[in-house]
Symmetry: C3
Subunit: 210 residues, 3 copies
């Protein structure tokens, strides 16, 4: 029971930090306050919403549970009215964002396993939960999603999701597996930022490319 | 019964004017006729489609009911073959667009209440119904959605949706509440255009912003 | 039974070639390998995923069936690690893409008919299955979808979908109808490329356009 409460708390922290990232993107593109709130909400919930639609968990938690609506609105208002706070705390925001990724990947993968998806689909849905919000956020402000071209963001998520699936396959107890997976994802993400690790980039296309 | 017929008629008018806005955007970006029709359809139905997916009303009305397919196609053809008509009627189009927003917000909010969503979620789904089409339309032609950076478009919708939810909470009769909500949204939108009201814009980010 | 196996094989070939088109777009925009794989997967499956969500076929085949996950990943890896192969085979890729379009349109329309949609909705869902992946692919790399402004791509799909619906309405045996529809779509697409047929483009807007 206490673990369940902890998980919900962590999930809401993830929602909050992803909403912060959305609101910051909105302020950067000089949206009005409504636009900033839409970006908060999209960044915080689009991944989970899409996952829930795909697995048939309708209506999605992000719509039917009040905290998932209130938390992004709060995050958006904080960024809009007090952008200085976010700037001062930007190192903390990177930490929280890594934590949000870790939590969303793990909870997304576990939810997919609960719905009896095959392991590969569960990993896919876990990664989608983690990166979907950022993709929609970037598309709304007309940018190529950073997760498609940046450091080991998604790979950290993949690693976490793979651990959850492996633990489930080996019938290990879910709580410690989830903790290990989240820590792996979180740690990998931070090391990747610190060491500037990135994935191989596609070679530039030849000039004659049609 | 007559009210039901009236509501369907108004909903189809809303569909038509939103489809016009999509087709105009397509012509502006020099799409071919198929592209113009896709934009008509997207602008007219994306909001309602997304709402229906999220609340589990599958298949969405916009797919299973013929008029919701035929009306956007007609609007697209009118704009494509007779753009002069739309230009001459552009003040009427602004009126119709405000009417479409009002109708979509109200019908979207009421539909969400029918599916037993909490009040905040119902407002959210009402606003999504009203603005979703415009967001998808703008994303398809590679623009930051105007609703995220323009005058009181969404706020008019929010006000209308809030009145519907409040009326439901107070157990007032739905028909007059819907009428009042739609009129409030419609009026607020027109006054906002007339007086050039707009929401506060986020302050420009500092140059050192990463 | 053999026809069923053939259809699945053809559907997977369609998935593969659409995934190639996504991966090529990713390489062109210098995404990292994860981004390239996301584009492969999006181009190959977004059309079918959206159709399945709209008709209520949840979870979509593209998520629950392993081959639909593995094939796009393979296509993405091929393009990423051996772009020369794709360049040398680019005429074959055009052929395969036309085949993919034909197969997706036909299977999408048939699936919609199975779910008892009206004929117009079935055509719409068939076209969506054929072009949805390309639209999401282009939106992810921040381009106006080519299908909205190019040669007779969607019209070839429309023709194929219309034949399927007509055959169903006349109660003709499905297998030969599907073959005829796919051949019509495939042939029309190739002739359109060869003769540079294209749809009428919207006339440029007047300078005073608001």
């Amino acid at each position: 029971m206490q673990i369940q409460t902890l998980l919900v708390a962590l999930d809401l922290i993830g929602t909050f930090v992803f909403a912060l990232s959305g609101a910051v993107a909105g302020v950067k593109h000089q949206l009005d306050i409504f636009g900033v709130l839409v970006l908060s909400f999209a960044a915080a919930t689009a991944g989970g919403l899409t996952r829930d639609l795909l697995i048939g968990a309708v209506p999605p938690a992000a719509i039917s549970n009040l905290p998932y609506i209130i938390v992004p609105v709060l995050a958006g208002l904080v960024v809009f009215w007090a952008p200085g706070i976010v700037r001062r705390l930007r190192h903390a925001v990177v930490l929280f964002d890594a934590a949000g990724l870790a939590l969303f990947e793990v909870s997304g993968t576990q939810k997919a396993l609960t719905f009896d998806f095959n392991p590969l689909a569960a990993v896919l849905l876990g990664v989608l939960t983690g990166i979907g919000g950022g993709i929609v956020r970037d598309m709304l402000v007309n940018e190529v999603p950073t997760v498609l071209r940046r450091e080991l963001y998604a790979v950290a998520g993949l690693a976490g999701a793979a651990v959850v699936v492996l633990g489930d396959w080996l019938r290990l107890p879910p709580a410690p597996v989830a903790a290990a997976a989240a820590l792996l994802c979180f740690g990998l993400r931070l090391v990747a930022i610190w060491r500037k690790w990135h994935l191989p980039i596609a070679e530039p296309p030849p000039p004659s490319n049609p």
